[in-house]
């Protein structure tokens, strides 16, 4: 297949700019002249679903196939509200019919291997898919060995991590419901970086709210692998306000890593966590293990020594394997956090770049946003937000933008942040799956 026509067009662009072509380096002069535009997307979470939809929205001629293991997707964000009983699993459940309506082929299967050189994806059922560009959005996997004695089997049977919404969310909720009044719920959050930095503390808040209403003699003990955490001042102030934090009767207790918070070992049989100094017995235990990029990213060699995937910030193309893009929690997009909104925003930047690359057009100048809501108690919502741009080859925060909800309690505005958080949930899930 000749691509002379295309070369010529790009050549003209270069010459036409009068020698000092302004943005030529950002063109892809030798893209195969519009013949093949096959994109395979691996993973149907926030990142993958959004990328699929937005590639189609921007260029309907691109052949987009999304491969996802599960027929139903449960959002990890807002799943803490299932634990408090505020929401049902059915309210955080989404399918792929919406994407199919946009002309995206959805394949329910598990990717077993990506051949980066041969530009082919293979699945467990023996299917093979060729691609021009592949988007890998696998989310996270767990380093169970970060806590001795913990493993996948324990997580699915007795001590859930519930850090991917699904059966473990249901199990944790049931454990809370059947726990006696006066019981102790232990949450053990991981070291950085991990999916949803404020998540464990919103979880503690939501569980504390449930306990306050239903089992007021009970407690939530947070044994942290860190010295500090996201929205620290907002959470601890909120806990003081709603749950007696800092007093003897506090529903929530938080132990920093160097105060004995770091959990080294779990005795599953005796439901006991062992730290450097103490051991703690829990009636319900939730261990959130340390994390890496999802398995397929590791298996394909898309990760560096950190266990996460290095990418170009303006295209999300892997710096290790060409033609493979990594978005969402698995990617190193720092200073962007590993959040649902960040995955949604990264997916759009990646989608725009892929559409441009497939057509031999200029890679668009990116713009990114993150927003993250947490509900500490009814009527007390808080948020963190940030605007990002691409500068000198890196994703950077736009100076002066973003930040946290003011620490001073404003009932009118805190109440609104709860409702904005709920609307955000409705709109972002529709943006990805609708």
């Amino acid at each position: 297949m000749s691509n002379n026509k295309h070369d010529r067009r790009n050549f003209l662009k270069i010459v036409g700019a009068g020698g000092i072509a302004t943005t030529v380096a950002l063109y892809t002069p030798f893209a195969i002249g519009g013949a093949s535009k096959k994109v395979i997307i691996i993973g149907g979470g926030m990142g993958g679903a959004t990328a699929a939809k937005y590639i189609k929205m921007m260029d309907s001629s691109v052949d987009v196939t999304l491969i996802e293991t599960n027929r139903d997707y449960f959002t990890c964000f807002t799943s803490n509200e299932v634990l408090s009983g505020h929401r049902k699993m059915s309210q955080i459940k989404f399918g792929y019919a919406g994407l199919e309506k946009h002309g995206i082929k959805v394949v329910i299967d598990t990717v077993s291997a990506i051949d980066a050189k041969g530009k082919t994806v293979k699945t467990k059922t023996g299917k093979s898919f060729a691609y021009d560009r592949c988007v890998v959005s696998p989310g996270v996997d767990f380093k169970y060995d970060s806590v001795e004695g913990y493993n996948s089997e324990v997580a699915y049977s007795k001590i859930p991590h519930a850090w991917k919404a699904g059966p473990q969310t249901v199990m944790l909720r049931q454990q809370l419901v059947s726990m006696k009044d006066g019981g102790t719920v232990i949450i053990a959050p991981p070291v950085n970086p991990f999916r949803c930095p404020p998540g464990p503390y919103e979880r503690a808040s939501q569980i504390a709210y449930y306990l306050k209403k239903n089992k007021p003699k009970s407690k939530v003990l947070i044994l942290d692998a860190k010295q500090r955490f996201s929205k620290f001042g907002l959470f601890t102030n909120g806990w003081k306000k709603h749950y007696g934090y800092g007093t003897e009767n506090s529903i929530i207790e938080w132990v920093a890593s160097d105060q004995g918070g770091l959990v080294e070992r779990v005795d599953v049989k005796n439901m006991t966590l062992h730290g450097e100094f103490d051991k703690h017995k829990g009636d319900v235990i939730n261990i959130i293990p340390a994390q890496t990029a999802g398995g397929i990213a590791l298996a394909t060699g898309l990760t560096d020594s950190s266990g996460w995937c290095p990418v170009q910030g303006n295209t999300f193309e892997s710096t290790i394997h060409k033609n493979i893009h990594v978005i969402g929690d698995a990617a190193i997009a720092s200073p962007m956090p590993k959040s649902g909104y960040a995955a949604n925003s990264e997916a759009k930047v990646c989608a725009a770049a892929i559409v441009a690359l497939l057509s031999g057009d200029k890679i668009p100048e990116p713009s990114y946003v993150n927003t993250c809501y947490s509900v500490i108690a009814p009527g007390d919502g808080v948020s963190v937000a940030m605007v990002y741009k691409y500068q000198n080859g890196k994703i950077v925060k736009v100076k002066g933008s973003g930040g946290l909800t003011p620490i001073e309690f404003n009932p009118k505005l805190r109440e609104r942040e709860v409702e904005y958080g709920y609307t955000w949930f409705n709109n972002i899930t529709n943006d990805a799956f609708g």
Binding site: N10, T371, S401, E419, Y420, T423, N427, D431
Partner: protein, 199 residues
Amino acid sequence: MKRKVILKYVVIAGALILIGQQTTLATPTAKMLAYTCAGCHGTNGASNGPAIPSLAGLSKPYLVESMESYKDGSRVSTIMDRIAKGYSKKEFELMGDFFAKQKVHKISKQKFNKASAKAGKKLHNKYCKKCHESGGTNPEDDAGQLLGNARLYLEYTFEDLTDKSRSMDKKMTKKMKKMLKKDPKASVKLIDYYSKGEK
């Protein structure tokens, strides 16, 4: 042969760009900027509520003015002040271009009281219509969307206008005062009418 020549140009141009990029920063396209709003405001600015307003079909000057007032803190907000500080006026204008081109989105099936909505329509026609045509969905008015917008957003707006955390121009202040003097429950009626989403 031809390929070689092109490659040479690309290499030279590429080097020039790398130098150029250090100093000048390109502005993202309207689409790129507007897409980042969708996470909260819905795809192409069509929000399904209950609290975050739609941006689809909004007047460009209104959107730019709103973003500027969030940025300088003159309009009350929870999060928009923090987000608005991330953009230039030129970028607000690009967002405005994008959203003005979208179809106005009306949420169907919001809660409203039937009788109250009927009374609200009358009030709207009497006090508001002159500046908020078509139930407040005409972008030519350079005002925000009323009919079919998220109900809680409408409630918050009336609350802010009443407690003066959001300012109004002289004409609107006068009309609002007159309306509320005659009917202290006028706000709820208007909110019911707008929430119904039909003219």
